[in-house]
């Protein structure tokens, strides 16, 4: 029954079932009703940790080391206990930052460094190649063995097989095709492959069942239970040693310890583990169940390892059968074909599960963190201008899958025969363990920097290469074995397996010690020596403090640049397709209470950050960074600039205060300026008026003078009477002009402060009497009664005598002009006030109307009977008098009632002060000419 064709048919049928399951799960996922959103599925998917290595190799290890196989499974169980802290944090961080892979996580943490991402990818690929080749070896070997049923023959040297018959190559190619179909049907923004998860959960069940079946069969079928089995082992002297697990050199403890630690790292950092545990996780809460479900699975699948190993050792005591194959050969030996087939399928299941998930994870890393960053930087390709890049991305991933599998096959051909399965696997474990310092440091220590991670990874990887990979290649004949035995160039201290003389450890432990020392040492030292950039700070804070921050907007705090909504949308559409881009933008708009695509979105820092995060889900953080930076005109921020921004903010506030102040001051100043300007314009106008008035006043007498002079000149025969009359007028008008000119000049001088004042002590009594005497003739001529009311003594004042006389004469002449025609009466009174002397000049004329009382103090303004007579005088007397009086600190005013005379009064302060000339308000309206 176990013909080659039958086996192949069954194998393909099984793969077909897997495919169907995956397809169904993907369809349900697209419809939004996921089948895998269950903690049980999640836990089962975690069991992808158990590969063909577990299936075949653990028995092999148990057969040689007894209980020594256990650390590989104790490690994960221990790690799970810590998961509550560690994994939860990693899950939270990954969800918030749309982490797509292990490389993405590390790159993202250390400032979205593309270099770091690339390095992690390279290490992962190189490190996992042995592991993949292990699966290929297992499948091809098991197939080869099964095909030769009922004979039990170990597979020969695979290198001698022809390509056509090279099962491993076929397996590799078939698996590549399968993986491509599973994992690269389309790009998912969150890198979820629900179909794949469903399939491997199913596979975990199958391999568990198969293993349990064999175990039960061996324990209870071949033998009579555990007791019987162990009893027989104890009875066989060669095997008794197996039962003492920690027998052996002190290195035994160390080996156990390192192995445990190693597998603890593995459960975290194997790319496939990271993929199913973190990336594919749909709900953080699934973790709660997984924490006890997974150890349970581990327990179940390991229960029968020892029994099967012992059973095999008992059954095939001569060592002709490879212990790795006991799981398969025991049923074969007992002629249980179906069981053997089941075991084969179980092994196939274990292997395919590993390969599929691992290659998908690796291809994602290769695409996002290795190839795309390089391509995006090659300007010639102008990738950021291409409309739709999903095709390119998928193409890169598919290519990567094929390449990885072929490389795995290659490794298998070149080096796979030299080691037992377990050892190969452990080499891979040691490789991914190099990620541990950067990862743990990344999530717990903000001081970890990019440079530190780079140095640590490089150092650890270098040591790994030297202490593990190099010996493996040497043992397979690809490198001179002398390097391993005697050290390079014969330097014993540098022997790869006994570096610096450290002996007594097995290879793995030895490699682990040195690589960890180098890795951690370089990481810590480099992190402390080189300061991180602003990006790193931000990312470090985001990662380490993930449970403290809430919301995604905080990533956008320090960002400066300009962007446009259409550009951002197109960018997202290019990588995720328009449907996904619309959905993303719609979600963002809804969160803001807006509608998409109604175009109310603002391309601010928050939106840019959101788009970048979405994009990172498809192409990784570093590539997303590059794409966003290309679309958006961004300004890189250094730490100093960040500080500057903060400073600026506080400065802006202070500055705006000052600005407000200044503008208020400006307002007041401009208001003042406006007022001053108005006053100046007014004064200018007045000056013009004054000048035109003076001009007019001068031209008038000049007209008569000229006209009459011409008449006299032209007519010498003019009769004498006329001639005398005309000459008289000429003389009078000349006098008039002179007076006017003098007074104008006088006033101008006083007003501008250029007048000369000759102050002296004088007695006002005397002055008044003198003035009265001066006008005496006129008084007499008009028969006016003049009365003087003067006190006997008055204090002397200091003033300009001539000017005061001018005032007195002006007032008196006015009084004379205006007092009553028939019975004119003028009184001059001098009274003493507390701090001044007051003089009143009273007349009994017609009085001055109220509205004219201020008018008369204005230049050129005269009142009188306008109907009949043009008043005599210049109209400047009173203004000048007022100026004079004010100059000495006094006041000049008039009191009058219509029809009852007028009293002109002025005061002269005692203890005289002189003030500068003041332009009084009354003089401001010197417009117009006397009516």
């Amino acid at each position: 029954m176990l013909h080659e064709t039958a086996i192949i048919a069954v194998a393909f049928a099984y793969l077909g079932i897997l495919f169907a399951i995956a397809y169904y799960a993907d369809e349900r996922a697209d419809a939004g009703r996921s089948v895998i959103a269950s903690p049980y599925i999640y836990s089962l998917s975690l069991a992808v940790y158990a590969t063909a290595w577990t299936f075949y190799g653990s028995v092999g290890r148990a057969a040689s080391d007894g209980v020594g196989f256990l650390p590989i499974y104790i490690g994960p169980t221990l790690m799970i206990a810590l998961w509550w802290v560690v994994m939860r944090k990693i899950l939270r961080i990954s969800k918030q930052n749309r982490i797509t892979s292990l490389a993405d996580f590390i790159a993202s943490r250390y400032g979205k460094s593309a270099l770091l991402g690339g390095l992690v990818t390279v290490i992962a690929v190189i490190g996992i190649l042995p592991y993949i080749s292990l699966q290929l070896k297992a499948v091809s070997n098991s197939f080869t063995i099964l095909v030769q049923y009922p004979a039990i023959v170990m597979p020969g040297n695979a290198a001698t097989l022809l390509i056509r018959q090279d099962t491993a190559l076929w397996v590799a190619l078939i698996l590549a095709a399968f993986t491509i179909v599973f994992g690269t049907r389309h790009l998912d923004a969150a890198e979820h492959h629900q179909g794949m998860v469903a399939a491997i959960a199913f596979e975990s069940l199958v391999k568990l069942l198969a293993f349990l079946a064999v175990g039960v069969f061996v324990t209870f079928g071949i033998y009579d239970g555990f007791g019987d089995l162990f009893g027989r082992v104890a009875a066989a002297p060669k095997l008794r040693a197996m039962l003492a697990p920690l027998e052996g050199a002190a290195g035994g403890y160390a080996n156990w310890a390192w192995l445990t630690i190693l597998s603890m790292m593995a459960i975290m950092f194997l790319p496939r583990q990271f993929q199913v545990a973190v990336i594919e996780n749909l709900d953080e809460k699934h973790l709660n169940k997984a924490i006890w479900l997974f150890p349970l699975y581990m327990l179940a699948i390991n229960v029968f390892v020892l029994p099967i190993a012992f059973g095999g050792l008992l059954r095939f005591p001569d060592g002709s059968v490879d212990a790795d194959t006991f799981v398969l050969t025991l049923p074969m030996a007992e002629k249980h074909e179906l069981l053997a087939l089941l075991v084969f399928i179980g092994g196939l299941s274990a292997a395919t599960g590993m390969v599929i998930v691992e290659t998908i994870a690796l291809s994602t890393m290769v695409c996002n963190d290795l190839v795309m960053p390089v391509l995006l930087r090659i300007r010639r390709l102008r990738l950021n201008e291409r409309r739709d890049l999903t095709g390119l991305l998928l193409g890169i991933r598919r290519g990567a899958i094929v390449l990885i599998l072929l490389l795995g096959y290659l490794y298998f051909k070149l080096a796979g025969e030299a080691y037992a399965l377990v050892s190969i696997g452990l080499i891979s474990f040691a490789a991914v363990a190099q990620f541990a310092p950067a990862m743990f440091g990344g999530i717990f220590w903000k001081g970890g920097t990019r440079t530190g991670a780079l140095c640590g990874l490089l150092a650890g990887f270098a040591v790994w290469l030297y202490t593990l990979l190099l010996p493996a290649l040497a043992r397979s004949g690809w490198l001179p074995i002398g390097i391993v035995d005697d050290g390079p160039f014969g330097i014993e201290l540098l022997r790869p397996l006994q570096l610096f003389g450290l002996t007594g450890l097995d290879e793995i432990s030895h490699a682990m010690i040195w690589s960890m020392i180098a890795n951690v040492g370089a990481y810590v030292i480099a992190s402390l020596s080189v300061s991180p950039g602003a990006d790193e700070h931000r990312q470090a804070s985001l990662f380490v403090d993930v449970f403290r921050h809430s919301g995604e907007a905080r990533g956008a705090r320090f960002w400066r640049g300009t962007a446009s909504v259409p550009d951002l949308y197109n960018l997202l559409a290019r990588f995720l397709g328009t449907a996904a881009a619309d959905a993303a933008f719609g979600q963002y708009a809804n969160a803001k209470g807006l509608k998409w695509p109604d175009g109310q979105l603002v391309a601010d820092a928050e939106l840019v950050h959101y788009v970048e995060v979405q994009l990172a889900g498809a192409i990784g953080a570093s590539s997303a960074r590059i794409m966003v930076a290309a679309v958006v005109k961004e300004e890189a921020l250094t730490l100093d600039e960040v500080r500057e921004i903060l400073d600026e903010a506080s400065q802006v506030v202070a500055y705006s205060h000052r600005l407000e102040q200044k503008s208020r001051e400006l307002e007041t100043t401009s208001a003042e300026l406006r007022a001053a300007n108005e006053r100046l314009t007014e004064l200018d106008r007045l000056k013009d008026d004054f000048i035109s008035t003076v001009t007019h006043e001068l031209r008038t007498p000049l007209t008569s003078i000229r006209a009459l002079s011409e008449i006299l000149h032209d007519d010498p025969e003019l009769d004498r009477r006329q001639r005398v009359k005309f000459l008289g007028i000429i003389i009078k008008e000349s006098e008039r002009s002179t007076r006017l000119i003098n007074q104008v000049l006088d006033l101008a001088k006083i007003e501008s402060g250029n007048a000369e004042w000759h102050s002296s002590e004088l007695d006002l009594r005397e002055l008044i009497e003198e003035a009265a005497a001066a006008v005496g003739p006129v008084i007499a001529e008009h028969r006016i009664a003049l009365a003087l009311r003067l006190p006997d003594r008055v204090p002397a004042i200091t003033a300009d005598r001539d000017r005061l006389m001018q005032v007195m004469l002006n007032l008196l002449s006015n009084a004379v002009k205006f007092c009553d025609r028939e019975a004119g009466r003028i009184t001059i009174a001098l009274t003493r006030q507390p701090d001044a002397l007051r003089i009143d000049v009273v007349d009994n004329g017609p009085g001055i109307r109220r509205e004219d009382q201020e008018l008369i103090f204005q230049k050129f303004r005269q009142v009188g009977d306008t109907l009949t007579e043009k008043p005599h005088g210049t109209g400047l007397g009173l203004p000048i008098s007022r100026q004079i009086v004010q100059h000495f600190g006094g006041r000049l005013w008039v009191e009058s009632g219509s029809g009852s005379g007028a009293t002109f009064s002025f005061t002269m302060p005692l203890g005289s002060r002189t003030t500068g000339s003041v332009i009084s308000a009354g003089d401001m309206n010197a417009a117009g000419v006397a009516p």
């Binding site: 008038t700 011409e710 009078k732 043009k870």
Partner: protein, 124 residues
């Protein structure tokens, strides 16, 4: 027939000189000292020409000029405006209002009389 000239000015001494000049040349002279009086005299005496001072009390020269030109039966009266203000705006205003001539003070007696004779169509 003797032509009548009305002198409208409030400066007595200027009136004296104008009166003499006009009478010497054989014109009949009437005198008005303000705008109202001037209009009254026009109505009463129908002068052929009026020497009109701008700065007249009660109604200034411009108003009188405007009034004359608005009255149809006085269209024939010739108007010579006199002023001490010589600004161009005043001149154009006067001429725009219908004055036939505008003379600034102080004036040349010869020029003034020549203008009077010209406007009245007399030679001499």
């Amino acid at each position: 027939m003797t032509k009548t000239v009305l002198v409208a000015d409030d400066e007595p001494n200027i009136v004296v000189s104008l009166e003499y000049l006009l009478e010497r040349d054989g014109y009949s002279v009437k005198v008005a000292r303000n705008g109202e009086e001037a209009l009254a005299h026009i109505a009463q005496f129908h002068p052929d020409l009026i020497l009109l001072d701008v700065m007249l009390p009660l109604r200034n020269g411009f108003e009188v000029c405007q009034k004359i030109r608005q009255t149809p039966e006085w269209q024939g009266i010739r108007i010579i405006m006199l002023t001490a203000k010589g600004r161009e705006t005043e001149v154009s205003k006067g001429l725009a209002l219908g004055a036939d001539a505008y003379i600034t003070k102080p004036f040349s007696t010869k020029e003034l009389m020549a203008e009077v004779r010209r406007l009245l169509g007399d030679s001499g």
